[in-house]
């Protein structure tokens, strides 16, 4: 009896599925299909940033968009990618660092479909025609946000709230990884450019998305004397902690205009890259192996200002932005920071990943001098888009509790 019912249910399920499968045989016509794979969903500020941009680009380019949310960094990512291929996607983009090798696996299997991946490092060494990386010079955005933070600190010093020595910022980082190090260093240098006495303490959560840990870490930083908080982690944990403690906050990816403590934030606007990607695929032109967006391409943006930021500060930020745009100002200008008390004159960065650890690809000299300015060339042309600045500079204390 039990087996009969079971068999019946299975047979019915199969028949129903075949019928639905035939009926749902999708015909996308001439419309290009864009598949987006997200680690989390819109509750994560990081993923929301990609989802919003993909919707904008798909609308502008009249492409059909399929979004897969909650895809972990495992074979589930490969499964999601090949399933998107089955659904007729012409181009597939994955948003998380750990997705890369699984997307690569799918790209090897389906050479006729284009794959791209944010923050990845393998495209320029793997040599596949249909696998690409993209990122943006977000360090410029963080530098500008740092300038706003610096003015805020100056105001605190002038009003007598803190002394110049107490100008300590806190930074909630995800992992001690180049992308995070590059981000917090540029933020710090931005603040230091207007408030020379500033110091910073960095603590890690060992997770890209952990609201509780981010909130607790931000609170711990505040309790340890930090008077301003920024973060590179993907939830609203740190902004919430700042709101509770009444400490100014500089965000990433998402503005929190309703928070009294919100100052400003920065984000990568992915819409220009997505539009470029869709155009390339639609026209059959080659996609760049490693694409880096800039302030000039509209890929790096400062978020809307909070209510507390004065018009004078906004005007100053515009001046700095103009200097970054015309190239007269370099974020990682070696004369503005020291490493172990000395100026950085050369640095060999691990620009190319080493597929074979026993036979590593040599590191690359990334310190350049241009028009008399010696600087660390981050996300530079000819190197790679994903950050590789992993130098620990003076003035920043790193505490790893993981």
């Amino acid at each position: 009896m039990k087996k009969k019912i079971l068999a019946l249910v299975l047979v019915l399920a199969l028949v129903a599925s075949v019928a639905i499968g035939l009926a749902a045989c999708n015909d996308n016509g001439d419309q290009l299909v864009f598949g987006l794979i997200c680690l989390h969903d819109e509750n994560s500020t990081y993923d929301k940033n990609f989802i919003d941009a993909a919707r904008e680009a798909a609308k502008a380019k009249n492409a059909k968009l399929i979004i897969r949310t909650g895809i972990p960094e495992s074979a589930a990512c490969y499964d999601a990618a090949v399933d998107l291929v089955d659904q007729g996607c012409d181009v597939i983009f994955a948003d998380s660092f750990g997705h890369e090798t699984y997307i690569l696996q799918a790209a090897e299997e389906f050479p006729e479909v284009q794959f791209s991946h944010a923050t990845g490092t393998h495209a320029h060494t793997e040599g596949l025609d249909n696998f690409h990386n993209a990122f943006a010079s977000i360090y410029e955005g963080r530098y500008l946000a740092g300038v706003v933070a610096g003015y805020e600190l100056n105001e605190m010093i002038e009003s007598g709230k803190i002394t110049a020595d107490q100008a300590k910022m806190g930074y909630v980082g995800a992992y001690p990884y180049a992308e995070v190090v590059s981000g917090y260093t540029s933020f710090y240098l931005g603040a230091k450019s207007v408030c020379p006495s500033v110091t910073m303490e960095v603590r890690y959560t060992s997770s890209w998305y952990d609201e509780t840990a981010e909130k607790n870490t931000a609170t711990a930083l505040i309790d340890n004397g930090c008077v301003l908080i920024s973060q590179h982690a993907d939830s609203s944990g740190a902004p919430t902690a700042c709101e509770e403690k009444g400490v100014p906050n500089v965000t990433y990816n998402l503005a929190f205009p309703d928070n009294d403590t919100y100052l400003v934030g920065s984000r990568i606007n992915w819409a220009p890259y997505f539009e470029y990607l869709i155009d390339c695929v639609a026209n059959g032109t080659e996609v760049a192996d490693d694409w880096t967006g800039h302030l000039s391409t509209g890929s790096v943006e400062l978020l809307a200002y909070g209510a507390g930021v004065s018009d004078e500060v906004k005007a100053e930020v515009e001046k700095v932005k103009a200097k970054l745009l015309d190239g007269s100002l370099k974020v990682f200008d070696c004369s503005t920071f020291t490493v172990g008390g000395k100026m950085l004159t050369e640095y060999m960065a691990d620009v190319h990943p080493d597929p074979d650890p026993k036979n590593p690809i040599p590191d690359t000299q990334v310190i350049k001098t241009e028009n008399g300015v010696t600087y660390f060339a981050e996300s530079a042309d000819g190197f790679r888009s994903a950050p590789y600045f992993d130098v620990r500079i003076d003035g920043i204390t790193e505490i790893n509790e993981a």
Binding site: M1, K2, I5, L6, V9, A13, L14, A16, S17, V18, I20, G21, A23, A24, H40, D41, E42, N43, I66, I67, R68, T69, G70, P72, E73, S74, A75, A76, D79, V82, D83, D86, F97, G98, E100, T101, Y102, L104, Q105, A174, Y175, P176, Y177, A178, E179, S206, D350, D390, A402
Partner: protein, 372 residues
């Protein structure tokens, strides 16, 4: 007021069922699944508007059977979940509440990856996989046996112990990845060595075959071996087991070794046949889901195969519905939550009967009737 109350018979009463026909019990269970799916459709309609009611059904089946690859994924995910369910079943059968399968499988994954890291490329892939299997089993067995020894020798609480061991395992994996990946990204990425061969050009087939073999083996072990019988006796009553001369401590430890071996197999399948890597969330909570699945299957391997399949069916289908309707990643969890609520809840109606108050009858002496 109180007088009126005593005069009235309650609207319904709950009566313990002694025996229920197997067919009827399964009828109730299948009814619960059907109701769960209907409620799921209603929830979608509330969240996504009226048309979502229909989308839920088509999306559910399309997500699972829509393409040959989705059908393969269904069986692959079923195989992994079933493998972990098989691992927890023996311990639960003897009422050893092992909720540490998550960590035990993760340690199995770690064992395989350690072997790939240090032996990969130096020996033949076939032998590499054999060594991976041995290492996975060794790691998982150690993780399963530590709480078992503490329970057998010092009567520690195994529920808390096995739960805490999960977090220790996760931290160990995090530390290893930290040591192996100098860039500090916390991501190991796929490894080239130690991958299972493709069968018929398809991934996952070998996983499915190995789990099927394990399920049959465990079925035979439970049904026909002396060990299987001893597990049942210890589960029924420890004292009875002692009277008939069963060494309870030995059975507890031996059964947890078996559990560890199966967790090790699951770890190997996740590394060699699925992810080719390890991460803190490699097991993805399946160590906990497997407990529910094993329980629903009454620790019988064939029934567990069915309940695993059913869970994966609902989960995979609900994920497709979420994609079609633009819902977040919590949506599949809501649907599987509804599924578990009804399927577990229906056990109540299998164990108890609800008797409603007879309609027209005027009860003359309700107290007596209850007593009868």
């Amino acid at each position: 007021m109180t007088n009126i109350k005593t005069d009235r018979e309650p609207l319904f009463r709950i009566v313990k069922r002694d025996n229920i026909a197997r067919g009827k019990a399964w009828g109730i269970r299948i009814g619960a699944v059907v109701i769960a799916i209907l409620i799921g459709a209603v929830v979608s309609a509330i969240l996504g508007g009226g048309s979502a009611f229909g989308t839920f059904f088509s999306g559910l089946f399309e997500g699972v059977f829509g393409t040959p690859r989705r059908i393969l994924n269904l069986f692959q995910n079923t195989a992994i979940l079933l493998c972990i369910a098989l691992a927890v079943a023996p311990a639960f059968k003897m009422r050893f509440w092992n909720i540490g399968a998550e960590g035990q499988v993760l340690m199995g994954c770690l064992g395989s990856v350690v072997v790939i890291q240090y032996l990969g490329g130096q020996i033949d892939n076939f032998w590499l996989i054999i060594v991976m299997f041995l290492a996975s089993v060794a790691f998982s067995v150690v993780w399963a046996v530590i709480p078992a020894i503490f329970k057998a020798k010092w009567r520690t609480n195994e529920t808390l112990f096995t739960l805490m061991m999960n977090y220790v395992a996760m931290q160990l994996v995090a530390i290893c990845i930290f040591a192996w990946v100098p860039s500090g990204s916390g991501v190991l990425g796929t490894l080239a060595d130690g991958r299972f061969p493709l069968i018929g050009g398809q991934r996952y087939i070998l996983n499915i075959i190995l789990v099927a073999v394990a399920a049959v083996a465990l079925f035979l072990y439970f049904r026909f071996s002396k060990h299987g019988y001893e597990i049942s006796v210890v589960g029924e009553s420890e004292n009875t087991a002692k009277y008939v001369g069963i060494n309870v401590k030995k059975v507890i430890i031996r059964t947890m070794v078996l559990s560890g071996v199966l967790c090790g197999l699951a770890g190997l399948l996740l590394v060699g046949g699925t992810n080719y890597s390890v991460a803190v969330d490699s097991v993805d909570n399946r160590g906990f889901t497997a407990i529910l699945v094993a329980w629903l299957g009454k620790f019988s391997p064939p029934a567990m195969a069915f309940t695993s399949w059913l869970y994966v069916f609902i989960d995979q289908g609900a994920k497709n519905v979420a994609t079609l309707m633009g819902m977040g990643e919590a949506f599949p969890d809501i649907i599987t939550g509804i599924f578990f609520f009804f399927v577990i809840g229906c056990e109540f109606f299998i164990n108890y009967k609800v008797k409603f108050r007879p309609r027209k009858k005027k009860a003359e002496n309700p107290v007596e009737e209850v007593a009868s």
